[in-house]
Symmetry: C2
Subunit: 323 residues, 2 copies
């Protein structure tokens, strides 16, 4: 089965779950056929550094540097900086490995020197030998703010410092109104040879919505000729990873792959949806709502399953393109 030579694929991705599919896509496409736009909403300033967790997870995953056991950060990591910072009474709630720190420091130095986040990311990915383009969804700061009954919280304070404990009542994407799609994202969305837009299995509210909040992106997804296909981050009524299930129920939604499909379908034209075998019963209703549904094993526990899901997504997209 040939997956290449059919135009470019644009993937919209958050961190860990999204990066798994991105790695699968990177195996079955040529480097110049894949653009992965990363969620900017998790980015924050900490200890004077600009930290971009989703961009970094994609970078470490596609460069082969990620720690697949721990699930985040770099393999062979050491933690002497954090230990010494703790001794000094510093802020240690956000864990930064000694090697990981170098990525943030170099990015911050380049940003201060006037480079855009796109330029910095391209340079760093090139140094790490990554073929496909990992790009920020925007070069302007877009920061997720989590609304809670006790007031708004910057995303990482909610996510890491408070371990997602506060009840979520909504989200704001600070800076989104003034943001523009990054050059690579804008180019991909406008590409007449675009083969597919893939919404990775990431949290819809905090990983994909910040991208959709960038003026022009949702409009482009409504108008794009290429099929838009999403992979469910919810399997059997639970999130594969992270706070998606807790958020859905706190926001009054059913914790279901169908809820996520409906959320996207309300924003743009969702042509296809890949959901897990455990959720096969949901497929007819999704189809009835106008989205082609494919049921398969979506748990990407190793490289083979990542490749298999990537292939399923691409063949669904190609089938929809032929319609």
């Amino acid at each position: 089965m040939s997956e290449t030579g059919k135009g470019r694929v644009l993937a919209l991705s958050g961190g860990i779950g999204g990066a798994k599919l991105a790695l699968g896509l990177a195996q079955v496409l040529t480097a110049d056929e894949l653009v992965i736009a990363a969620n900017p909403g998790d980015d924050f300033e900490h200890l004077g550094l600009t930290i971009c967790p989703d961009l970094d997870t994609l970078t470490y995953t596609l460069s082969g540097l990620s720690d697949t056991e721990r699930g985040w950060g770099r393999q062979g990591e050491s933690w002497n900086f954090m230990a010494a910072l703790g001794e000094l009474g510093g802020e240690i709630w956000f864990n930064l490995g000694d090697r990981d720190l170098a990525l943030h420091a170099e990015r911050t130095r380049r940003l201060r020197a006037g480079e855009t986040l796109s330029e910095v990311t391209a340079a760093l990915c090139s140094r790490l030998g990554i073929g496909p383009r990992i790009v920020p969804a925007t070069d302007q700061p877009v920061r997720t703010v989590v609304e809670t009954p006790d007031g708004p919280l910057p995303f990482q304070h909610y996510f890491v410092r408070l371990r997602c404990e506060p009840v979520v009542t909504g989200f704001r994407f600070e800076g989104a109104a003034a943001a523009r799609p990054s050059p690579a994202l804008a180019q991909a969305l406008a590409d007449p040879h675009l083969r597919a837009v893939v919404i990775c299995p990431s949290n819809p509210f905090i990983s994909i919505d910040p991208i959709l909040a960038i003026p022009g992106v949702t409009e482009a997804l409504r108008q794009v000729a290429a099929p838009v296909v999403a992979v469910s981050p919810v399997v059997g009524g639970a999130a594969v990873k992270g706070p998606t299930a807790k958020m859905l129920s706190e926001l009054g939604f059913e914790v279901s792959a169908a809820t996520v499909a409906r959320h996207y379908a309300e924003c743009f034209r969702l042509d296809g949806y890949v959901l897990d075998d455990a959720d096969a019963a949901l497929a007819p209703a999704i189809e009835a709502a106008g989205t082609a549904a494919v049921v398969t094993g979506t748990l990407m526990t190793d490289l083979d399953t990542k490749i298999a899901v990537a292939r399923t997504v691409l063949s669904l997209a190609d089938r929809l393109a032929r319609r």
Copy 2:
């Protein structure tokens, strides 16, 4: 021999050589009898961090964290940050250990939050259990600029990046005109019970002159009632450490302990001078110029010799105070 109970001692210090004497002084004085004011001229901004090498060397030396084998930085240090930064094509000319980095990051965070360098330093020294007060000579930035035939160089670019290779034609202390002595330095200089001012065996041009360039400091040293005593950083016509000898000869001076004494005596009232046995022949001329000279072993190779030099300095100062 009781060395305590005689009022406060103010030491002016650069990095490594000065820190050796400071450690000796810290052994023979009570914690509240010793204030060590660190040279600000080596400080610089790098990778977004405010780095204060002399303040840090004093901090690591007096907290027992310093690597006495390597001569700088922390013991048990790891270098994974620098290794990863090198892989990313970052600036690796200034070596920063993973643990050391925590000190710079925490200082930078506190400075950005609005604390003064004095406040930050006091907090960090307290966390590390340091008794005597290590203070910056000023809370304003004073940065040494090295004049060379090819133009001016920021100090660390000259010192570390170019390994002191350019010929030195002079120095400027950027920011000095607008600087003020730090509260602790000002208080020590105005203390009616000040026992002695000790000029540590540091490079006069790049470690002590930046302190003297802070408006009010040289004037205070001219007027202070307590004796001012220096220890020579030059032994037998060579510097114990660093570029002092190279600088002296490039600036047209004889590489001699006597040159350093003359340099200080031109700036303020140098009451006493401690020089090495190897330089005994220079003592009569120094005495003739009005400075009491004491000849002793000044190479501080272990804690005992650091204590011995500290005792010699204090007993010389006490002898001069009785005159």
